[in-house]
């Protein structure tokens, strides 16, 4: 009984080791990359298209739309990062239906890695959008006194991001493992289905939070009237 797939180590050489987390991550990467490559190998620009292409188009445009609705202008710019976050987390939980599979997101190392990526990506996108000085000045708002609190908020939300995903995914596998020992056969399947749902929700939460952070880092720099209208429109759409 182990808490994390990190503990399942296939191969070790000093600092380097190949544990189940990395192995399953590679597996997911392979599935995602090869699947995409296979489908996008012959894309059709006609009105007629294959069902796989249709699925991918729905997924991509769906993510794009979500990013846009959060308030980021030009969502295509952030699609690579945020879309991959969502797809990776979602697929990691989706594959829990495969027996013997351990979701890499059930490891705090993975979620920490993803959170660190978000932690680094937010200032990068913010600086790319509005420049270094503008971005840094944001930490002094509304007053200089707020600087330590802003920094703490950055760090704590990154930690929360990592722990939230880890806790949810790990608990799913843990509950499943525990239930398997107590009530075999039928009940774990229901829990597994519930785990799929929570996995999807977590993937959505994780990526949408990252989007919101990035949006906060880029949007506040430019409170233009056009931007304001844009947000107001989004606001109305949401309420509608």
């Amino acid at each position: 009984m182990h808490l994390s797939p990190d503990d399942i180590i296939f191969w070790r050489h000093g600092f380097f080791k190949l544990n189940a987390t990395i192995a399953y991550t590679w597996g997911l990467m392979a599935v995602l990359a090869l699947g995409s490559k296979l489908v996008t190998r012959k894309l059709s620009t006609d009105l007629q298209r294959s069902r796989w292409q249709n699925l991918l188009e729905v997924v991509v445009t769906g993510i794009n739309q979500q990013i846009g609705e959060v308030g980021l202008r030009r969502p295509e710019k952030y699609l690579g990062f945020l879309g991959t976050l969502f797809l990776f987390v979602a697929l990691a939980s989706l594959f829990t239906i495969v027996p013997g599979y351990e979701p890499p997101t059930g490891s705090l190392s993975t979620t920490a890695a993803l959170a660190i990526c978000v932690f680094v990506a937010v200032p990068i996108f913010g600086i790319a959008e509005s420049g270094l000085g503008e971005y840094l000045r944001d930490y002094l708002k509304p007053t200089v006194i707020m600087l330590p609190f802003n920094i703490i908020s950055e760090l704590s939300r990154t930690l929360a991001l990592a722990v939230r995903l880890f806790g949810n995914m790990m608990s799913g596998t843990m509950i499943l493992a525990i239930l398997l020992t107590i009530t075999p056969f039928i009940f774990p399947i229901a829990m597994s289905a519930l785990g799929l749902l929570t996995g999807m929700v977590q993937a959505y939460i994780f990526s949408i939070l990252a989007t919101v952070y990035i949006a906060a880092a880029t949007r506040t720099r430019k409170p233009g009237p056009e931007n304001g209208n844009h947000d107001a429109n989004h606001e109305r759409m949401h309420h509608g």
Binding site: D6, S36, T40, E76, L79, G83, L108, T110, A112, A113
Partner: protein, 268 residues
């Protein structure tokens, strides 16, 4: 320890690789495909719009042309009808005029023919009458008639007025040739002597006379000398009668032409 730092680093690297891979194989081609399709649809829609507008324009133009054509056709048709009507009227007029002219000409010809026939008839009748009269008179003109005629001639000589008598006397005196007395019949000696006596008596001189017969005088006696002439003859009467008859005929012809014209006018 829940966090294995090597795994964290490895996962960060893995994640970055995955981002690159998905960008390369998923997002870019899919978005490109969607963009291409959208562009294609937009182009097709714009194309359709343009075609629709063009069709509308063409339809309008065609309708316009059609209307113009209709109007033109109607105008042409009415013009042609008018022209045909005018032409028909003209032809009818021309035909009527030609018919009138022909009928007038025929009328004229008829009238002139009638007139000529009438004239010829009249002349013939006149000539016949005269011929008959002349013949009758010639038949009747026996010696006694000649004698009567001689007496009438002599009376006329005696009754000549002063001026005529004087000039005749001068002519008779100056004439180198003897005076010529012409008659239709041979005058008998007694009458010749009576005539000579009457002449001598009238002009109180011995006058030389030569007697001659001229049948064309019908019945009459004529004295001519040195260009002067004293005559009495029925032919003179006949000539005046012929003249009168001719005048009458001419008047009649004129009135006939007039009535013919009147008749033509009535027919119009």
């Amino acid at each position: 320890m829940l966090i294995d730092w090597f795994t964290v680093i490895a996962q960060v690297v893995n994640f970055l690789i995955l981002v690159w891979l998905l960008k390369r194989f998923l997002y870019r081609p899919i978005l490109a495909a969607i963009d291409a399709r959208e562009k294609r649809i937009a182009t097709a829609l714009a194309d359709a719009d343009a075609k629709k507008a063009e069709a509308q324009k063409e339809r309008d133009a065609f309708q316009h042309k059609n209307e113009a054509f209709d109007q033109q056709r109607t105008a042409l048709l009415s013009q042609a009808t008018d022209e045909a009507k005018a032409e028909r009227q003209r032809l009818l007029d021309a035909a009527r005029q030609a018919a009138d002219a022909m009928s007038a000409k025929r009328q004229e010809t008829l009238i002139s023919e009638q007139q000529r026939l009438g004239e010829a008839l009249t002349r013939r009748a006149r000539e016949e009458v005269f011929a008959i009269a002349r013949k009758t008179l010639a038949d009747l003109a026996g010696t006694s008639l000649e004698a009567c005629m001689a007496e009438v001639f002599m009376r006329r000589l005696r009754e000549l007025d002063g001026q005529a008598k004087k000039s005749l006397a001068e002519a008779l005196e100056t004439a180198s040739d003897p005076a010529l007395v012409r008659s239709a019949f041979d005058l008998p000696a007694a009458q010749r002597a009576a005539l000579q006596n009457a002449l001598n008596e009238t002009f109180a001189a011995e006058i030389h006379v030569r007697f001659e017969t001229a049948p064309d005088l019908v019945s009459g006696i004529e004295l001519s000398t040195n260009g002067l002439k004293v005559a009495w003859s029925i032919a003179d009467y006949l000539a005046s009668l012929g003249k009168a008859a001719d005048e009458l005929l001419k008047m009649q012809a004129k009135s006939e032409i007039k009535t013919g014209q009147n008749a033509n006018e009535h027919r119009d």
